[in-house]
Symmetry: C2
Subunit: 251 residues, 2 copies
């Protein structure tokens, strides 16, 4: 049974202001929930789930105190879920804290990525290519936004994510060359970047800002054969990371 | 001024059943509207726009009969728009008819892509890489779904899209080798496919079906360095198309 204040509390977590105030965010669905319960059980603050899910997942729930586990009805899950089709289980999880980053390999710099789905897909793509550091500009979508969380497919647990002014990051790491993606630049397939580098991806409509282009050592472009005006930001990130990771001449 | 029946008509177009019945779909926003008015003015059946947009776009509206141009108020646009932030102009456009396909170059086969955003992004990506033929399985999302249209960014006008059972397509084109994307296959970067080929991308969660794998000449995989379980379907399509178009040894 879910109290009125319980419903209100979870609904409030769909707003950044309240997430930041409580330091928690929402994770939904059996697959993601299993990943968080396995990898970071100490961060799982509350489990709301239908009875059948609770019955079938006792091992996953082993590390969670009973008082934090709430059996609810499907109609109650609907009230607190942000999914079009609520899916058995919803967790309230504490904000992740990452160890300090070592900036090894490729660091991904995201400037003002607005679409939560794009941000989540970029985090998932970074995880696929073994990128463990992402630095987001302050105006990038919030990583704890429920659409980001769902699109990351759990990769959030494996990628170190910071929010800070990217100009500051560039100035703090003068020895790491920044490769900015743009519509006019050097052909990606003619680039052989060093092992330690930063890949900078710009806003979906404006691209990389002049201020950051000025701090970038190189500007690169994915060659085009057809007529589309641009590529989706997550697709462009995937193509570039894949090439840098697997097909560059130096690797 | 927008009539009640006008509002009802446009709202009905957010359902496939009514789109198919009338043979029309909705296009929104100044950028996309300009592209459709320029490229296929004869297919534009109705223009609903706020006065300022109409005043600033008289050249675009030149080929459109006055009776099809409707000046509406922002609150009326809100009623008929599917966008979170309605954006000045909404077109009703007749279904596109493509000339018969020549199957030259890369043909993209999509099996049951469910997410409209993914489908739109895949069409946009195909257009970037000069792929002019996409064949969708019957269970793939509807290309005239408003989320697909908005995500294509106009590429819909340049890519030939068919819906038919993919097993039929494979049997009708025995001389075109099919490269299926899968989690277990030959390393993408070790593949040098012929110029005429088909790239098969499977459903977001199930991947390519057994039936279609059996009809595929090759199974390919994007190599992984990190730990994500899979890549987003549009990202995987972009990485594969980019490699096949620009970095294959044969090109």
């Amino acid at each position: 049974m879910l109290s009125k204040s319980g419903v209100k509390y979870i609904q409030s977590l769909y707003h950044k202001k309240f997430r930041d105030a409580y330091g928690v965010f929402v994770v939904e669905g059996p697959k993601l929930a299993a990943e968080f319960l396995t990898e970071v059980p100490a961060l799982v603050k509350e489990v709301y789930a239908v009875k059948s899910w609770l019955k079938n997942n006792t091992a996953l729930l082993e590390p969670i105190e009973d008082s934090r586990i709430h059996a609810i009805e499907p109609f109650e899950l609907e009230k607190i879920s942000a999914l079009t089709t609520p899916n058995q289980v919803l967790l309230v999880v504490a904000y992740l804290s990452y160890p300090p980053s070592d900036n090894a390999g490729i660091t991904l710099l995201l400037e003002d990525i607005q679409d939560p789905g794009n941000l989540g897909t970029i985090i998932r793509t970074a995880d696929w290519f073994g990128v463990s550091n992402i630095v987001c500009s302050m105006a990038t979508a919030d990583v704890y936004n429920t659409k980001v969380i769902q699109a990351t497919m759990g990769s959030l647990l494996r990628v170190h994510i910071d929010y800070l002014p990217l100009t500051d990051w560039c100035r703090q790491h003068p020895d790491i060359p920044v490769y900015a993606t743009a519509l006019e630049g050097k052909n990606l397939y003619e680039c052989t970047p060093p092992e330690n580098m930063a890949l900078l991806v710009g806003n979906e409509s404006r691209g990389v800002s002049e201020a950051l282009l000025a701090l970038s050592a190189h500007t690169i472009t994915i060659p085009r054969k057809g007529k589309a005006e641009s590529l989706n930001a997550a697709v462009a990130t995937g193509i570039t990371l894949s090439h840098f990771t697997f097909s560059s001449a130096v690797r």
